[in-house]
């Protein structure tokens, strides 16, 4: 995928923004030397970009993150070097934003500088199989709330429709029309459809912009 200087990931919570952010950061690093990922989640203290800190360090990706993330201190803190995001224009960045409008509010203060620089993608991650966004209407309602809070209009959609480990190729195929309908109602393109890596081969060629995701491991 071709990247602008800033790629922002916003959306309804639990759609998979962080998993997508981690994978995009690793993909971005293949193309550019100076890459950073920013964990700006002020909503959820669990399942953060910071969980992949070791992978980022091994790949030479810088992590911009509140020092209180993953410390058990449950406060909506932002990194002290927040303004590097808009001031360090030599670094390509992925921004992982917290869920819903309450998470997107973080972007509000950065919006004037981001819009002035005008080198960004504002992506929303959507998942048809989340209970509060099963159709176009309910999805767009959430996306409009996010745009109002972030003060940045969306430029593209990441279709990450999945049922976790039980996701079948048919589930993904059944989500394509949903994603296209959300996209056309918003007047923006579907930039990619993300699938867990083991489904990639079964779906390659059937869906445009297919992107394989490596998921975090769990032992329970």
């Amino acid at each position: 995928m071709e990247y602008k200087r800033l790629t922002m990931l916003c959306g309804h919570y639990g759609t998979g923004k962080t998993n997508v952010a981690v994978n995009l950061a690793l993909d971005l690093k293949k193309q550019y030397t100076s890459v950073a990922v920013a964990d700006l989640d002020i909503v959820n203290p669990y399942f953060r970009t910071k969980d992949s800190e070791a992978d980022f360090a091994a790949s030479g990706i810088e992590l911009i993150c509140s020092r209180y993330a993953n410390t058990n201190l449950d406060i909506p803190a932002l990194p002290e070097n927040l303004y590097r995001i808009t001031e360090d224009r030599e670094t390509k960045m992925i921004l992982d934003i917290g869920g819903d409008d309450s998470g997107a509010i973080v972007l509000g203060r950065l919006a004037p500088a981001i819009l002035a620089e005008n080198d960004y993608e504002m992506l929303t991650v959507i998942n048809k199989y989340r209970p509060l966004t099963p159709d176009v209407e309910s999805t767009i309602e959430v996306l409009r709330e996010i745009e109002a809070a972030s003060k940045i209009p969306f430029t593209g959609i990441v279709n990450n429709s999945n049922l976790g480990e039980e996701t079948t190729p048919e589930d993904v195929l059944a989500s394509v029309r949903y994603a296209e309908n959300v996209a056309s109602a918003m007047g923006i393109p579907v930039v990619m459809t993300t699938v867990k890596a083991d489904l990639y081969a079964k779906l390659a060629g059937k869906i445009p912009g297919l992107f394989p995701l490596q998921l975090q491991k769990k032992y329970y």
Partner: protein, 355 residues
Amino acid sequence: MAEKVLMKGNEAIAEAAILAGCRHYFGYPITPQTEIAAYMAKKMPKIGGTFLQAESEVAAINMVYGVASTGMRVMTSSSSPGISLKSEGLSYLAGADLPALVVNVQRGGPGLGGIQPSQSDYFQATRGGGHGDYHMIVLAPASVQEMASLTVKGFELADKYRMTSMILADGTMGQMMEPVSLDFEASQTVEKPWATTGTKMSRPHNIVNSLFLQPDELEKYNFERYERYKRIEETEAMCEEYMMDDAEICVAAFGIAARVSKNAVDEARKMGIKVGLIRPITVWPFPKAAFAKAADKVKAFISVELSMGQMIEDVKLATSCKKPVFLCNRAGGMIPAPEQVLASIKEAAEIGGAN
């Protein structure tokens, strides 16, 4: 196959409660259960229900008391420190014989503790928690699907026995995402002739109360309540048995600890160790019969817990200490790894085998 959605455990509780006919939610935010309140805040206004963020946990549980008195399905949710705050109200609900659903998505303690998962409120949940002689029906889900199904079950049992049902989950269960089918049959309801719904001048007043100053009267209610508890212990205990048929070692674990333990049991079986698992689904009533039966054939028990060892006492009581019971635990928000459980199984196989 029913259509599935991908849900967090907390969301599954909230949606299942709505499907069970609950239209009144009162709560106060605390990690790691805040998504329940957030979900209710979004959904309740759209379906004519009430979501109210109270000024404190104490206020929320007393609002639950109020709605429960009218016979409508009502719930609150919190995490460990918040449940302690609600404990006075839990005792009042028991004293007034009111049905309600209370969710505890446990975090590490004591005190303010941390925000990582824990099972260290087991004593508090299974022994009542507040003052006085009483129990709650305590359901311990081990998957997001069970977060939903046991919520529905919890409302039904609460109505049936006029008492509080508690969902005893933990931070992992609340936060993890799994596919869920919400295709439940219509939730069973019961008549509530005791509810304070207005006499319409056609019947005597119903009174909901937990104050009884005459000791003989208060004693009578306590004895009656414990007759009911006895019936519940005889009929409502639930557990899952896994590979217990030929087991020589029995692992006891609920919730997240059972999921980890299951992986360890599978690994031990590959090594030829005959081990099984009993997973209590109700921790009150405790599935005593399953453990008593196991005590006659296994050599040892291992209680795997995210606490300093609380359920282990119920395992010892249920088995009359016939066989050794070992503890395999982490505390403070840590989760035992399958390797730690496997090491305990190997150790128990050696020690238990020598007995």
